[in-house]
């Protein structure tokens, strides 16, 4: 810095640097709408209504699947190439609070769209406290005194008349690996609810947890599935039958966070998207059907009951294609990504309310 202003505290931390575009308070924003990722579901039933025997028809929807979180959509009026830094004021804090995280930041016309994911549905909504470089803030002020700095290009980089971004804590937090551990289901009952333990890290203790706001985008994600398949064939009440059903259930989890106490920040997952696909085919025929009689006749003529059985078996389908391919519906299976090194910053809502 050949010229300009550099202000440090007693510990040498930089407070103001005229070469750096400091972020200042832009405003406090409520969401404009709420959404959820639609369930991705589908099923194919073929001739399963009249089948005898034990053809399974249960749980062809989203039974037993864990509930999805909500996505709050915000439109932040800041026109420029630099995205705003948006802190989340969660709906609550503490050990039973929902987890929250920013899952999308994109420029939309002269605004920036921010999407915040919350792990559970609540009546209250998170609020955003947003910050931006001064060059993108159009708020006016009537105050005529203070301190204003410029960089070498003459662009304003700090202005004491606008509230600066003040961090009171921060650090790095990891996310759990898998969202669900242990068995993923039994027979046609899926079990993919989140049972991972929260990851906790500490920050400089503050006086009130409910006053804290945080910045921590959701980076980690996990995707887990459960597959089950049954097939049967044989005779039932004088009818030859065959059926085959194949199912896949999956959940896509996004990392999210909460203020657990005045000095503790926690990470876990919420169900961001989910799906269930199945394929079910069946066929039966009475013993007097052509194929059964033809098989039995050949068996009689050529002296072997087995021959009759084998020929008879040809009449009913084998359903070897009753498979649901995981890759067609979910991004990946039974794994997780980006769980380490997620930076977070803590500030206070009361600085800006």
């Amino acid at each position: 810095m050949a010229h300009g202003l550099l202000v440090k505290n007693d510990e040498g931390d930089i407070l103001i640097d005229s070469d750096f575009s400091h972020y200042h308070f832009l405003g406090k924003y409520n969401h404009s709408s709420v959404t959820q990722v639609p369930d991705i579901t589908g099923g194919s039933d073929a001739n399963t209504n009249s089948i005898g025997g034990n053809s399974p028809d249960q749980n062809k929807g989203m039974e037993n699947m864990p509930a999805k979180g909500e996505i709050y959509i915000y439109s932040v009026p800041v026109n420029g190439a630099n995205p705003p830094i948006c802190f989340v004021k969660p709906t609550s804090s503490g050990a039973s609070a929902p987890y929250t995280g920013i899952v999308l930041t994109k420029q939309s016309g002269s605004n920036w769209e921010i999407r915040v994911f919350q792990s559970t549905v609540t009546s209250a909504s998170p609020v955003l406290y947003c910050f931006s470089p001064l060059a993108q803030i159009s708020n006016s002020t009537s105050t005529t005194h203070g301190l204003k700095t410029f960089n070498s290009s003459g662009v304003t980089t700090f202005d004491s008349r606008f509230k600066p971004l003040r961090a009171v804590g921060g650090g790095e937090i990891t996310s759990p690996g898998l969202a669900h551990t242990g068995s993923s289901g039994s027979s046609w009952d899926v079990s993919l609810s989140i049972n991972a333990s929260s990851v906790s890290t500490s920050f400089t203790a503050q006086s009130s947890a409910s006053d804290l706001i945080f910045y921590c985008p959701s980076l980690a994600h996990a995707c887990q599935k459960y597959e089950y398949e049954q097939a049967d064939s044989g005779w039932y009440s004088g009818r030859r039958y065959s059926w085959h059903r194949s199912d896949i259930w999956w959940c896509f989890y996004r990392s999210c966070f909460r203020i657990a106490s005045t000095s503790s920040f926690e990470a876990n997952y919420g169900v961001f998207a989910r799906g269930h696909f199945y394929e079910h085919e069946a066929e039966d025929e009475p013993w007097w059907s052509f194929s059964n009689l033809f098989g039995a006749l050949l068996g009689f003529l050529f002296g072997g009951a087995i021959f009759g059985v084998l020929i008879g078996a040809i009449s009913a389908s084998t359903f070897t294609n009753v498979n649901v391919e995981a890759g067609d519906y979910l991004p990946y299976s039974n794994s997780y990504r980006n769980t380490s090194g997620n930076s977070f910053i803590i500030s206070k809502a009361s600085y800006y309310d």
Partner: protein, 89 residues
């Protein structure tokens, strides 16, 4: 062929991934009803006797903190309740 289901009961690893030292092993588990004796089976078909040839296949995830041995996988399968034989009702 549907009346002669010949899927071998047992298990097989269908995917393994290692992340930060954790082994994520997806295993397919197949269970079947026991085969009938061949001649009896043929007679059952000829006489149209009610009977089944049920099989079930489950694909689920198991985690290990090291590359698991066969014995360790089988212990984990036992713990999860896997039985390759479906008891005929």
């Amino acid at each position: 062929m549907i009346n002669e289901i010949s899927v071998t009961a047992g298990w097989e690893i269908i995917n393994t991934e290692v992340i930060d030292g954790t082994y994520l092993v997806t295993i397919k588990m197949t269970s079947c009803e026991p085969d009938f004796e061949e001649e009896l089976h043929a007679q059952m078909h000829e006489d149209k006797v009610d009977h089944t040839h049920l099989k079930s296949i489950t694909a689920d995830l198991f985690t290990f903190d090291h590359d698991p041995t066969t014995a360790e996988i089988e212990a984990a399968l036992d713990e999860r309740g896997f039985n390759p034989v479906i008891a005929r009702e």
